[in-house]
Structures are given as C-alpha cells and as structure tokens.
Amino acid sequence: MSDTEVDEAAVTTNVPEDVEADVDEPETNDSTVERDAKHVPNAIPLKVRGLRKEFGGIVAAADVNLSVEEGSLTGLIGPNGAGKSTTFNCITGVHEPTAGQIHFQGEDITGLSPNEVAERGLVRTFQIARELEEMSVLENMMLAPTGQRGESLWRSVLPVARESVKQQEAAVLERCWEMLEFFEIDHLAHEYAGNLSGGQRKLLELARALLTEPSVLLLDEPFAGVNPSLESRLLDHINELQESGYTFLIVEHDMDLIMENCEHVIVMHQGTVLTEGTPEEVRTNEAVIEAYLGGEVDG
C-alpha cells in the first residue's frame, strides 16, 4: 500500500507537465521512450514483449509488443477478435502466455497469478462485467480496497483486534459511498449486484477497480452500454485521475472517443500490433483503414 502512495507522490511531481508537453511527439520513436526507460525505470510501467497465446490450435495473440507510458491514457483498438482481451488476460495473469514477457514497473510479471499482478498495482476490468451477483453493490465495493486489516481471519474474530477492524471498516464504507455517489449508483447500494443493468454493472466494476488504488488500470471496453452523459463524466474523471498520476490502457470500439481522449493509440489486428501512434497518425494509416474495412464494420 505504502508503495503505491510513494509512487503517486513521485509521479505527481514530474508527470503532468510531461504529458501535456509530449502529447504530439513521443509515439513515432517508441525506441527512444524505451531508452529513456533505462534511466527512469518508471517511465514505462507496462511493457509487453513477444506475447503469444494459443488456445488449442487457435492463435489468439501471435506476437504482441507494446509499451504503456507512465501517466498516459493509451487506447487499444482493433477489430473484433484482434486479440485485445486476450492480451489483457495474459498481462493480468488470467491466462498464462504461450510465449513472451510482461514487465511491470521494471519487474518481470509473466506467469504471475492475477492476484499477484493486482497486488502490484496493475488492475483490470473485464469486457463482460464480473459483478459478484449475490452480494450487494456495497459489499462488492467494500471488497476492493487493499490493505484491509479484517482480511486476516484472527483480526476479524478476536475481540480487541476486531475493534480496530471496525474502525477501518467505517473508513472503507465511507470511501465506497463516495465512489458510489460519484458513479451515480449510490441509490443501488443495497441491491444485489446481479439485479443491475448491463451499464450499471460496468460502472460498478470500474468503481470497484478504482477502489483498489492501482497505479495502472486496464479497462476492457469500460463504456460499452453506459449512457452518454455518464460516459463523459467518467471520461472527465479518468482524465482527472490521469492527471494525478494514474495510467490507463483502454480497449474501446468507439473511435471518436479514443481519438478525442487518448494521446497514444495502439492498433491490434489478427493477434499482432498493426501500428501505433497519435490518434491523427492512426486515423490516416492505410493499414488500419484496411484492417477495419476488411474486418467487421465498426461505428
């Protein structure tokens, strides 16, 4: 826990201006970014090299190479079946990669279990929301915060220790309400998560992920099914978080949204990274146009 706090502190002092300044320039020379990374280990918190994932005979990811810059809002796009979710699954330990390495904050995290990845501050949401159906929305939320003392069995049970757990619970509860209010689902706090609508589930999942206070968030189509006004509020919030040092990698099919909000866009096609660059570069890239026209039509 304290690690993340230290990171954030360090980050907030130097990143925002960089981000502002670099918006137009860094993508063409991925290699310089990497060279920089050697000097400033945290500049590229997430780096994927030669990632390959096969399911039986199906090659879902063939050779994925990508880097996510500290404090950036990076978009990951590509036609259906391009391997975006598979890449997420391999990064977060849900699937074990067939080949390749994943580095997070300078550490090789390939093959770690999902909880170990999440503990390091790399948290994801799922494309199909994974709410905990027979728990209330509030319980879903309260699960998320890290460093909960009461997760130790003995502290939860023994009389004196339990008092300290209760105090922390009150604080956790407070934070959860705050988050629920922000996401405008506080009126659903006592509803079973299984009774929420599709969009509400996505909100719940995003809110829950934020409560873990990650340093890097991987969001798999977070806005699918969310109404436009809330979507723009969420984007504002994401931008806010980004400014305070969070890093985002977002899978999204809404091209306009990506183009307007991301400073860096990675395009995947048939299990590999087709190209990457600024929104402008990507938009005009012929390979991208072809991939999208050749693939399924997207809004």
Binding site: G93, L132, M135, M142, R162, K166, Q167, A171, D186, A189
Partner: protein, 458 residues
C-alpha cells in the same frame, strides 16, 4: 456480545427484538421443544419419557445445527462443495478416542484396545487439530478443482477414511509402548465420559450426583435418574457449543474476511483480479470448517459409548446438506434454523411418530413388503401396509428426505426459510446514503481519514 452486529438497532420495542436473529433462533428452538412437550403431554408421557425425549431432541438439534454451520462456511460462504463431511467428523472422534482412551501398556485381551490415556480435553483438542490438519492436506491439492470434481474428491476421501478405519491391519498396533489401534470393523469402546469429566474438572461431581438423586425423587423419575439428567445436561452443553459456533461463524462471516469468502463463491477469478490471494482464503476457510466438523463429530459420538466405522457412512453428510439447504446456504442464522428444523421434523419427527403409533395402536407386525402389499391389492386393506411402513420408518424416512431435497432444489433452492441477508462487513451497512453511515459511531473517530480526495465535503 454480538448485539452490535445484529443489524441496525434503530426500530425500538418488540419489533427490534424480533428482528434480532438470536431471538428468532431461540423462538424456533423453544417452539420445537414446546411442540414435543405438548405432544408428549397429550400422549400421557411420564416425566422421565418427556425428559429423555427432550434431551435427545436438543442433542440432535445442536449437532445438526453445528454441522450445518460448519458446512455453511464451506459451501454457503466459500463455494467449496464438500460432500465428505462425515470423514472429518470420523477423524475428530477417532483421534480423540485413540488419545484419550485409558492406556494399556501390556498386551491387552482380544477385543479390547487401549489408547494413550491423555486427559479428555487434550484428546478433544487433538481430534479437532487432526481434522484441521487433514483438511489442509485435502485442501492444498484439491482447492483448484472445479466444484463437481471437488465434491467427488471429498466424498471419495470420506470413504477412504471409512475403509481405513475398517481395515484390520490398523485394528491394533504398538506405538511408543502403548497398545492402541483403530479397532477395525468392531470399532472402539469409548471409556471416557465428557459430562463426568467436566463435572470432575469443575469439582461439582458430588453435588451433581446428589442433585440428580433428589431432583429425580421429586420428579418421580424412578430408579437411577442420573442418565436422564446426564442427557439433559449434555444437551445444554451442546447448546453452549452451538452458541459458540454461531458467534464464531458470524464474526467470520460478517467481516472483510467473510466478504472475500463470499466473493470467491460468486466469482473467484474476479476476486483474484482485485488482488485477493483467494487460495489462502480458501485454505483457511476449509481448514476452519473441517476443524469445526471434527469438533461436531467428537460431540456427536463422544457420549455414545462406542464407535464403529460403519456409523460414518456418507448418509450423515447427506443429512447435513439437507439441513443446510432447508436453512438456506449462505446464512449462519439460516443454518442453525435448518439444523433445528431438520433434526426436529425430518430426523426425530418420524421416529417420534413411530413410537407414538406403536404405543397407541396394536397393529401387529408385518415382516415383508409382500405381506404388506398383497392385502392392499386383493382386499384394499391398507392396514398391513401402514404397519409395515411404520415398522420400517427408518428407511421410509430417508426416502422422504431424498424427496425433500428434490423438492427444495426445484422450488426453494434459496432455502425454505428464505433468502436471508447477513452483511459481509463488521459494521451495519443499512444506511441509505453516505450521510446515514456518517452517523454511525465508529465513523466519528475516523471520519477525517475516510475521505480520500476531500472533494466530497463542500
């Protein structure tokens, strides 16, 4: 002790008392007992018979409620599909027996097997620890299995335990100079007595004996009243254990720990993705549950005088499952209610009825199904069939239980007693908005730390 956890204590008066889960449980158990006493009175039961019947009823209510609670931790909370409950119970009581049977250091006569002669309380601790350790051994490899495979593994293990107990090679052996063993098919005689040892330990054995004599005389119990009081006293002791089980498991459930367990039950992968080391939680939960099953097993069999391996058939596991499903998996209060309802109506009820009928009517004995069915077909005479059914109620009872389980799974998978909400947190979550919770006492001491950004307060 747990009043603070019973939910918001806002509504005053009777309604609030009724809202308290503990009240409901006491009312249910009290109601069941009253029903039995009432029935006994109608049937002109003597005092001794009444007391015996109550002692037995309380015993079964307590053990099934304890077992259902332990299973609820596995299945209701963590989603661990354990259908080997009886195996852990068997390990508990057998280890207790081996540790605490009186020691034999010379080759004993055939058929009598000694133990290590440890004090009973040590034996009980040993039994509970053994069940827990065995639980860890099962859990470490098996927890990553799918629920249905986990079920098959656990039932397989409970049968392996039974075969091992049955095996003549382990019937008797010499260990550290003691002649001990598992007794093989003929089992072990339990030469200890929980009730007496407890009285001795507290130093009230003498007064107790005197009390039973005088009370027995007053109530007109006839000769040797002690067993009657022993069974009542043991029943009360088990109720105390039940209360402890309940309080413990409520604390486990209503806590961040329990919250993670519930989350694992719902979606283990999503829980992992939030940084929870689910394996650690599952092992802990499974181990605690197994230890409690071991303890319940000890309490179940310790006063029976003897144990044989074939008492530990999967049937008991099935009973516990029905109790849990009646009460509604996922709720501790429901588990106790399910245990009580199962014990009173499905387990003891039919036998009570059988006694009543056999004592009230002389319907004669019918030894085979054939003799029962032919008069029914030829002369539409149902009496022999009824007689046969009552005589073989023990079997029919299990048919009824099977049908009950099917009925519940069809119509009330969430339990007969409804879907109960027990908050997975140490503090009440009942507030309708943030401002409501802010009035909770704990928040006041900690409010400043709670809000991270500070943008919430204008």
């Amino acid at each position: 002790m747990s009043d603070d956890e019973g939910g918001a204590s806002e509504p005053a008066g009777l309604a609030a008392v009724w809202d308290n889960d503990a009240t409901k449980l006491v009312a249910l158990v009290g109601g069941i007992l009253a029903l039995y006493v009432g029935a006994g009175t109608l049937l002109d039961y003597g005092v001794r018979q009444q007391l015996n019947s109550i002692g037995l009823l309380v015993f079964y209510i307590a053990v099934f409620a304890m077992l259902a609670l332990a299973l609820n931790l596995h299945w209701g909370y963590t989603g661990l599909f354990n259908i080997g409950v009886i195996g852990f119970m068997a390990i508990g009581i057998y280890v207790t027996a081996v540790l605490s049977k009186s020691a034999t250091v010379t080759e004993p006569a055939a058929g009598s097997i000694g133990g290590f002669g440890l004090p009973l309380w040590l034996g009980i601790i040993g039994g509970v620890v053994a069940a827990a350790v065995f639980g860890v051994l099962v859990a470490l490899p098996a927890l990553r299995l799918r629920a249905d495979y986990f079920a098959i593994v656990t039932v397989g293990i409970s049968e392996i335990v039974r075969f091992t107990l049955l095996e003549s090679s382990f019937q008797q052996m010499q260990l550290f100079g003691y002649f001990v063993g598992l007794g093989g098919g003929s089992g072990l005689i339990l030469d200890f007595d929980i009730t007496d040892s407890l009285l001795d330990a507290v130093g009230v054995a003498e007064p107790y004996a005197g009390l039973t004599e005088s009370l027995g005389a007053t109530l007109g119990l006839g000769g040797n009243p002690k067993p009657v009081f022993d069974s009542l006293y043991y029943g009360v002791l088990l109720l105390v254990f039940l209360v402890l089980f309940y309080l413990l498991l409520r604390r486990v459930g209503n806590s961040p720990f329990g919250r993670v367990l519930k989350a694992i039950r719902e979606d283990e992968e999503a829980t992992k993705s939030l940084g929870k080391d689910t394996n650690r939680f599952k092992i802990k939960s499974f181990t605690i549950g197994c230890a409690l099953m071991g303890l319940a097993g000890i309490l179940f069999y310790a006063e029976q005088g003897a144990i044989t391996p074939n008492a530990f058939r999967p049937r008991i596991t099935f009973f516990v499952w029905i109790a849990l499903i009646i009460g509604g998996a996922g709720s501790n209060t429901g588990s106790v209610m399910g245990g009580a309802v199962f014990a009173a109506f499905l387990f003891r009820g039919p036998l009570f009825l059988k006694n009543v009928i056999q004592e009230s009517f002389d319907i004669g004995a019918v030894s085979t199904f054939g003799q029962a069915v032919s008069p029914l077909i030829s002369g539409l005479n149902p009496v022999p069939m009824l007689a046969y059914a009552i005589d073989n109620l023990a079997q029919l009872q299990l048919v009824i239980m099977g049908l009950t389980l099917i009925y519940l799974m069809h119509n009330r998978p969430e339990g007969l007693l409804g879907h109960r909400q027990e908050p997975a947190a140490c503090i009440p979550l009942t507030g309708l908005s943030r401002s409501d919770t802010a009035t909770a006492p704990a928040t006041e001491t900690d409010g400043g730390v709670a809000s991270k950004g500070g943008d919430g307060d204008e």
